[in-house]
């Protein structure tokens, strides 16, 4: 059966093109709907909150349908990617203090490292507990990261990654809601595993 995937639009920012492309590659019977309002959310089966942008900018873009989005996330499978994962937190500190979608506990802060920031490049994901979104992911798989901020969370962590000697949360999961700090839509066949897992839920 065809699935309707709603991709949240951030206006100027966001990478809907790449999200659309990877979903089309993964499975043909997927319809992508660009979500710009609460009305657009009504018909979707699943939600993708994409990356590229800033915490503050993304929250401003979704402000007109904030409540509808929060309600919908409680009901349907949702995948937050990079920034999209971050705004599922309670609060972010990129360009000031901004409240988030508050699905997961915790805050999003600048990575506390001496290494170059943003962290740009490939890293493994250590699966630390049974996870639907990380099904089939092995210790050798690599995923592409491009982020300056990280999600501080202790309750819903499914995966951890390292930036040199710094360990950070790369995957959160609770019920039918998932957040990945990396970009599955940029992570070759390993990323496609994540997309397939999300489509199978």
């Amino acid at each position: 059966m065809s699935q309707v995937i709603g991709v949240i639009d951030y206006g100027q920012a966001g990478n809907i093109f790449n999200i659309r492309k990877v979903f089309e590659l993964a499975k043909k019977e997927v319809k992508i709907v660009v979500v710009k309002s609460g009305q657009d959310l009504k018909s979707v089966d699943k939600i993708v909150i994409p990356g590229v942008g800033t915490y503050k900018g993304a929250m401003e873009s979704i402000a007109p349908f904030y409540q509808e989005l929060r309600d919908k996330i409680l009901k349907v499978p949702t995948l937050g990617i990079c920034l999209g994962m971050q705004i599922l937190s309670e609060i972010g500190y990129e360009f000031g203090e901004t409240p988030g979608l508050k699905y997961f506990e915790g805050a999003v802060r600048l990575m506390p490292v001496k290494h170059p920031v943003p962290h740009i490049g490939w890293a493994n994901v250590e699966v630390i507990r049974p996870s639907k979104i990380l099904k089939g992911v092995t210790a050798e798989d690599v995923f592409y990261f491009m982020h300056s901020y990280e999600f501080i969370n202790y309750k819903d962590v499914a995966g951890l990654s390292n930036y040199i000697d710094h360990s950070f949360v790369s995957v959160v999961e609770r019920d039918q809601v998932f957040g990945v700090q990396f970009h599955p839509e940029k992570s070759r066949t390993h990323g496609l595993k994540i997309i397939d897992n999300f489509l199978s839920i």
Partner: protein, 251 residues
Amino acid sequence: MSKIRVIARLDVKPPYVIKGVHFEGLRKMGQPEALAEKYYWQGADEIFYIDAVASLYQREILFEYIEQTAKSIVAPFCVGGGIRTTDDVARLLHCGADKVVINTAAIANPQLIRDCAHIFGSQCVTVSIEAKRKGDGWECYTDYGRIPSGKDVMDWVKEVQDLGAGELLVTSVDTEGRQKGFDVELMAGISTIASVPVVAAGGAGQLEHIRDVIKDGNVNAVCIASMLHYDRITIREIKEYLLSQEIEVTL
């Protein structure tokens, strides 16, 4: 050390990927979408697509070639050349770019870097620095290595970081296309003061050149063009060599 990224760089004069020496005497190497796909399957960590003439000719960015190139790859895609406004950046993201590369417009209007960082995040903004030796230091050039800007490279590095640049793509105008090695001294100087990742470009001709710029230039990524375009080596072979030199990469 973090995993070093090996990046395939396509300098494009639509509809062809071109290659020159010191950014001059351009030769046709193939079509961007075909080469992007080839290097993707070889294991490129990222693909850089630079429109070599958009700034120089002051013409619009040719989005259709970029979209066409983006279609065949599920890997990071970074696009530059001719970007003047935040709207240009937004359109590029909607054509499949993940990051953008800005040089000429940033030198003319440094505020553009700040605006882009505010809208798209620093991780999306790569500032390209075309550096040419001058006296004891280096000077920034624009328009594909043609026009001196009068700006000192090290001063400019500090300035663009303060404005919110998330990465530096550093090309030596002196070594570009000669395949005789990178300007390691330049890269080392920049790496010392950089708080963001540094990508070295311009000069790779042998595997040892790549090793040296990583080990002695302390860069986070390397851009390879000529060695790949002339089919002298594959990305996979470069990575296997780097591993043998105890440099971490992803295979």
